[in-house]
């Protein structure tokens, strides 16, 4: 698969194949093992032989990493009992072996059809993320598709050491349709793609500092970003968390009264919003630095 293919259009397996050193990927619990949801058949919903999560080990730039990639096409990449157990397993393997863990996130959160099991599964995966962080084993979330990282998966990515987003990636808790239903179409029109994208998209999250890196919409750019972060970790310290507390307080105070994302772009150094909207990831990162 050529790396010129757009990252947001790739499937989970194509993404993994194009991110890692050629031929280095070994999948755990691959489809022939048929590890799948016990709930979906009872609800007459088709199953997937990997339950929507591909996990394994590979090398990136010669360094061994554990990987997990969610399959957005399968029930929205949602986390059920098995999907979540695979995720927790790969994180615990990372903590055990001291090998960094990279997630390619594409999920609306808990799989509603499996009820509370998926909810507990995400909470267990969170504990496992922090088990890695306590051992200074890097955890990196990559968010690069329209399905994005929402619900519990959105929260989980904010627990990782680092987040890489492309401009197609979206990060949040409540998705656009849920917000529209709650607030009304006048207040938030979920079919207004520009608005949705500016509210939760990669460029805004990068400006705010919630995405650590903004990568281009191709595997080569995402790989380059992963390589930069693989050697680092972001351990929790009292000093660091107090600084983060101040930053989040300031953000709420400064922008809490507006619902206009352009105000954030302007305040964070983007003078020409229209131009910056069309800028590539590299150009945008340069514009954001100039502030």
């Amino acid at each position: 698969m050529s790396s010129a293919q757009l990252f947001h259009e790739q499937t989970a397996r194509q993404r993994l194949a194009s991110l890692v050193d050629p031929g280095s990927f070994t999948e755990f619990l691959p489809p022939p093992e048929r590890v799948m949801s016990p709930y979906l058949p009872q609800l007459d919903i088709p199953v997937s032989f990997d339950d929507g999560l591909v996990i394994g080990r590979a090398k990136i730039g010669g360094k061994t990493v554990y990987l997990a990639a969610q399959v957005g096409q399968f029930v929205g990449g949602s986390v059920g009992e098995v999907h979540g157990a695979k995720l927790t397993g790969i994180l615990k393997a990372a903590a055990r072996d001291g090998i960094p863990c990279v997630f390619i996130v594409e999920s609306g959160g808990v799989r509603l059809h499996e009820g509370s099991s998926g909810e507990i599964a995400i909470s267990e995966a969170m504990r496992a993320v922090f088990e890695c962080r306590a051992k200074r084993v890097p955890t990196i979330a990559v968010i690069g598709s329209d399905i994005g990282a929402y619900g519990g998966m959105g929260i989980l990515t904010t627990c990782c050491d680092f987040r890489i987003m492309t401009e197609h990636g979206r990060l949040g808790i409540s998705g656009p349709i849920v917000i529209e239903k709650w607030m009304g179409k006048q207040a938030y029109d979920s079919s207004n793609r520009a608005l949705v994208w500016k509210t939760s998209g990669g460029k805004t999250k990068f400006l705010l500092g919630d995405a650590d890196m903004l990568a281009g919409d191709d595997a080569a750019s995402v790989t380059a970003a992963i390589k930069k972060l693989l050697a680092k970790s972001s351990p929790l310290t009292l000093k660091g968390l107090k600084a983060r507390q101040q930053e989040l307080e300031k953000r709420l105070k400064t922008f809490g009264k507006t619902s206009d994302p352009d105000a954030i772009w302007n305040a964070l150094g983007i003078k020409n919003v229209a131009e910056a909207s069309l800028a590539s990831a590299t150009e945008f990162a340069a514009l954001a630095k100039k502030k």
Partner: protein, 236 residues
Amino acid sequence: MKTLLEKFFGKSANGIAVKDKLMTGYAEVAGQEVCVFGTCDGTYIDNAAALRFAAHVLGCIENHSKAPIVMLVDSAGQEPNRTAEMLGLASYFGHLLSCLQLARQNGHKLITVATGKAIGGAFICYGMFGDRIDALESASVGLMPIEAMSAVTKIPAPTLEKLSRTMPSLEFGAKPFALLGGVEEVWSAKDDYAAKLAAAIASANTDDNRAALGKKRGGRKLSLDVRNRVLDESGK
């Protein structure tokens, strides 16, 4: 709320301030100082609430070395809101969880009691992160009630209702959640909450035993085995 707090903490409940349905403060359990925070009356948790809780946890780490942290949960979740999302509500919740993790690493035990609504995101963003999680029998614990699940998934409620009899994951409440291992112990209205809380603090440890508990109780049969298969295959 005052009455319920007194059941947990006796007179020392005076040390807990309740403002805008959010609680923060310090109290005593069996003569030991504990840090307390949480929600009441099913209120929503927003960016400001997460920050208030996080500040309280950071203050506890700094000035109350190793004091157990008791988290009380009665919240319907987060309100879907455009500004909250734009500001990164997920990051505010992630920050609160990070503060709780630092507390854990610094020797603070984390105890959760679900007292009312403990639904979806409201439970994930702090209560489910406890070392030991208990719930009152009357608490509404779970992802969502069956009617709501039916509305979103388009699966008829009677179908879900029927399946929930053999699949506690689809059922809503403290008891089915305990069968999944998500709650250690369900407290009945007749229980002595102060004694229960003291015992919970004494027994809490940092191992996440929920998958093992779910398997043992039969409500979540696959989690532990699937996780262990991943650990086996990756360890070869």
